[in-house]
Subunit: 122 residues, 2 copies
Amino acid sequence: MNTDSELQNPEWRSSCPIASGLDILGDKWSLIIVRDLIEHSSRTYSEFASSPEGISTNILASRLKWLESLSIIERINPDKPSRNNAFQLTQRGKALRPVLEELGKWSQIHLKEIHPTIVKII
Amino acid sequence: MNTDSELQNPEWRSSCPIASGLDILGDKWSLIIVRDLIEHSSRTYSEFASSPEGISTNILASRLKWLESLSIIERINPDKPSRNNAFQLTQRGKALRPVLEELGKWSQIHLKEIHPTIVKII
DNA sequence: TTATTAACTTGCATATTGCAAGTTAATAAC
DNA sequence: GTTATTAACTTGCAATATGCAAGTTAATAA
């Protein structure tokens, strides 16, 4: 990802779209944040932190900046202070829904035998 | 993922299918391997290593074991020695195609302005 | 029988993640 | 308006994962 998480400056491993998508989103947390925003449409910092997966606050802050710098998420009130200023998906972020839907479908079918408590969410 | 990469033993963060899919595939390399096998249908160790993304050999070995232990990939000749014994996708692995297709479509549309050389592969 | 090389493993440096605690500033309570 | 509370972070450090270079092994080619 990026050391200076203020800036959107991905390192592209290749010109393959799949690899490039993973250059941006291929970690354990970025798509969890997107999932939260598909489920809830608007979400504050502490709401993200209270999701069952238990993201730690430093990683959360870093991923929110990263996704915001890539215009995948945005603050609902860009001019207001950050307290209670929730995030939402941009059009670019909403366009990730089919990716998550396909991943969720795959997981339900193929992980249920090794993951006893898997359920449907989206 | 897992320290002992012989064993399939994912740590599930939650019962959400999306999060669970990411528990298994949410890293920079696993889906690159799956992509190679969608593109080429059969691939040896050194062919994986020569993909443009440049996976290092220790990571490659660890991910191949991981994906094999999860029945996402398999050796073409399970009983033969590993030299030139290529890998292929299982049905479970082939079922990941829609996930990668949707990710590729998203990336082509939404990354082209920040990634000048992005192209279509699958 | 020897040389080559595919398929790994190992060791170590660097980067990323996780955990606990601390800081700041906006709002709520009085 | 002053004080207390708490949301939204930041910081420091330990643990884990990744990356790089080199080494090992055993199957096949010469």
